[in-house]
Symmetry: C2
Subunit: 203 residues, 2 copies
């Protein structure tokens, strides 16, 4: 059996969906968390200067969505045909746009702009996306695509607890279908145990 | 035969890779370009408030990467197995990060920050990514993944002429493998004819 080693920061973010899918697959993995202060030295050793990346034996996989898509068929969480895969990819892409907005805010340095961006995120962007997702979940039996569980749910639930944490907003409080989705993913075999034992980080 | 209708702005950007793949597939498509001044009224009619989206008959596909991935197998431009697909998804994701940096710059309003971001893009970010891509191209027989043509090349070449246009930098001038790649993609059947007849826009 090859060794699985995930390298990311000491936070949930884009690493958590990969931790979720590995846990769901019942794979033991090394959860390598780089301290912020080591990042400048470490950055040059990563593919394209970014984390997360996943080592499977001596193979290095980078880009969180590529990693999730690669593992999804092994986990039984991929689409079964091109139409199902399309549905998953579309909703994942839409959530990815929301995640980019979070990252844009995190990276903004000017204090006035940062405050303005945060307000827009909380009062406009998040409500806009969440109302779309609520409708999708409502029309798909509580799932994001094809009326059944896929890696899309692991991705959005794994990441969105960071989004909430960074911004100090509670998505599960305001959005009932999102709450149900979060609880359902957190109850999945493997993920349930992972969520209990994972390091406690604010986001 | 269903009708293909692509809706995007009057620019290359994220729409162009889809125009490329449809042209490569020999599909006639309606190239619907929304004037900037109509966008505020139009935005609410799109899935998730964004373009491009592609109508195939009465089906609406959104998210440019999801659309490209859906069309790729029909075009013979997808990976043939999970490992090939992974290679494509990783390099596409890495280019996507570069594209996000461009979009971050475009959306920055503060003039000082915008100028600083532009300098970073031109002097650091682009050279960093391009040197990585040059190495990949060099080691893969001039391709980005698996040593053969895939939708990854259509995506990066289709989009990067916008990146050059927005920033006023010539990527093909400085990066010989990128230049060769661009020329190769622009010579592909269907794409060759499209590039000749497409509307002349600055980016």
């Amino acid at each position: 059996m090859p060794e699985y080693k995930l390298t990311y920061f000491d936070l949930r973010g884009l690493g958590e969906p990969i931790r979720f899918i590995l846990s769901y697959m019942g794979k033991e993995f090394i959860d390598n968390r780089i301290p912020r202060e080591d990042w400048p030295q470490f950055k040059g050793k990563t593919p394209f200067g970014k984390v997360p990346f996943l080592e499977i034996g001596d193979k290095v996989l980078y880009q969180s969505l590529a990693i999730l898509k690669y593992l999804a068929p092994q986990a039984g969480l991929a689409g079964n045909n091109p139409e199902e895969t399309l549905e998953i990819d579309m909703v994942v892409g839409a959530y990815g746009d929301l995640a980019s907005e979070l990252s844009r805010w995190i990276r903004t340095e000017n204090p006035n702009d940062k405050e303005k961006l945060k307000e827009t995120l909380i009062n406009e962007t998040i409500p806009f996306y969440m109302s779309k997702f609520e409708t999708i979940l409502k029309n798909n039996g509580g799932y994001l695509a094809n009326g059944k569980l896929s890696w899309a749910e692991l991705y959005v639930v794994g990441h969105s607890s960071s989004l909430s944490g960074f911004l100090g907003v509670d998505l599960t409080n305001k959005y009932p279908f999102w709450k149900e989705l979060t609880e359902r993913v957190h109850s999945l075999p493997g993920i349930k145990e992972w969520v209990k034992k994972r390091p406690d980080t604010p986001f």
